[in-house]
């Protein structure tokens, strides 16, 4: 799967994003890493230019509740509602419901296992094959965790 791994906003914690980017590569995926401090607009354009299937967002600063909805909205607006969005970093339990409503399909917090993330991506691929919704646009409410 072609995956863009992005760090939105001013958050400077990039260890997790780098670790996951490498783990996904080793799992056979094609990962484009954006580097730190990308705006929602930049991220949406990167996903478009790369024609990525999925977008992984890593945030540890607590700004996910503003940034994630904005990014999902931009994807929908620019004809990229088919893109699958998943999250990692520090996302408090109480925000998970809101993130899923935005169209996010999975959330992986500290201590997440690579096998689990890869299993999620495999499941997503099988949903794509079966023409089941996976993107931020056509939400049937399915999410991984």
């Amino acid at each position: 799967m072609k995956i863009v791994m992005a760090k939105p906003g001013l958050d400077g914690h990039d260890r997790g994003a780098k670790v996951i980017a490498r783990a996904l590569r080793d799992g056979g995926h094609e990962v484009v890493y954006t580097g730190l401090r990308r705006t929602p607009e930049e991220i949406s354009r990167i996903v478009m230019d790369e024609d990525a299937t999925a977008l992984g967002l890593s945030t540890l600063s607590g700004a996910h509740d503003v940034l994630v909805p904005r990014i999902c909205e931009l994807l929908r607006e620019s004809g990229m509602g088919h893109v699958m969005v998943f999250l990692g970093g520090i996302i408090p339990e109480r925000d998970h419901g809101k993130m899923f409503l935005e169209g996010v399909r999975a959330i992986f917090g500290p201590g997440s296992k690579t096998e689990d993330i890869l299993a999620f991506l495999e499941k997503s691929e099988s949903r794509i094959e079966k023409n089941l919704p996976i993107g931020v646009f056509n939400d049937d409410g399915w999410h991984w965790n």
Binding site: V31, E50, D51, S78, M80
Partner: protein, 295 residues
């Protein structure tokens, strides 16, 4: 109109989204029927190549800014190797190109070497052509390579810049392999690191042994400090490729297309099976594959 034709028309009319989708189709080995006259404006394909970590992406970032400031539309194709074992790839070139995010006039696509049934060289040729047709005036291609690379940048770039860095000296290896004479310019990056000077000197003296007086210029720059970039751009624009190089280019293009044709033949797996079992010879296999033509 077929779906593919619609996509192409929309991309030609400026849809970034559809251009991007078409690039993916080319990457997967599909061919686009584009008529010849569609690249109806001036464009240039600049190849940036050199060993890993010498600062190619940082340099590309500077080149993007340079052209963007002069009102040019700049597209970048950045290629990173994929793991032959897992097929996965980490495409990190964008991280070093801040200017890649500077708006509508810059398009950056990261590519891995896998998933190109016909070889990445043929894909790159087709992608550049598509970008040019869609109005992108400067097309930069970043590839890792120091001579041994299977990506034949000569096949599709109008100008080639070979980048080296301190403590590398890989270009001396390239010189032995006869690749260096294809470069229009040799750039030694990281001039802020003292040992870069030595590398530049070594390369210059290696050139002075060859009789050709058309060996490329050797320039020291620092991409990080934005030093020497103006001069580099002027040299890139003013350098004239000697005539003999255009013959080499045509030869490389033929080779790339030849590779592409063989590798995308529907007979490929059958032929490999038959050679394996010994029922046909290598020569027979080649004859079968080359007889096939993609319509």
């Amino acid at each position: 109109m077929t779906w593919k034709e619609k996509l192409l028309q929309s991309a030609l009319e400026g849809s970034r989204r559809d251009l991007s989708r078409l690039l993916t189709m080319i990457e997967k080995g599909e061919e686009l029927a584009m008529s010849k006259g569609e690249e109806n404006h001036d464009y240039m394909i600049l190849g940036i190549t050199g060993p890993p970590g010498v600062g190619k992406s940082t340099l590309v970032g500077r080149i993007i800014s340079y052209w963007k400031d002069r009102g040019k539309k700049v597209a970048v194709l950045a290629i990173d190797p994929s793991s032959p074992r897992t097929g996965g790839a980490l495409l990190g070139d964008r991280v070093r190109m801040d200017s890649a995010n500077s708006g509508e006039g810059v398009f950056v696509r990261s590519l891995s070497t896998r998933g190109n049934p016909g070889g990445i060289s043929a894909s790159l040729m087709a992608m550049s052509k598509l970008l040019a047709s869609c109005g992108w005036e400067k097309i930069i291609i970043e590839t890792v390579g120091s001579g041994q690379s299977e990506i034949k940048i000569v096949a599709f770039a109008d100008k080639i810049v070979l980048v080296d860095g301190p403590d590398r000296g890989d270009i001396i290896q390239a010189e032995k392999a006869g690749i260096i004479e294809l470069a229009d310019l040799v750039v030694v990056n990281k001039s802020d690191v003292p040992s870069a000077l030595k590398v530049a000197e070594n390369i210059r003296s290696a050139f002075s042994f060859s009789n050709e007086n058309d060996s490329p210029e050797v320039l020291l720059v620092s991409a990080e400090r934005n030093d020497g970039i103006e001069e580099m751009m002027q040299l890139i624009q003013s350098s004239e490729s000697p005539l003999w190089r255009s013959r080499i280019k045509i030869r490389e293009r033929l080779l790339s297309l030849w590779d592409h044709r063989l590798m995308s033949s529907p007979m490929l797996n059958q032929v490999i099976d038959d050679i394996e079992t010994g029922s046909i010879s290598l020569e027979d296999g080649l004859d079968i594959l080359s007889g096939w033509k993609n319509e």
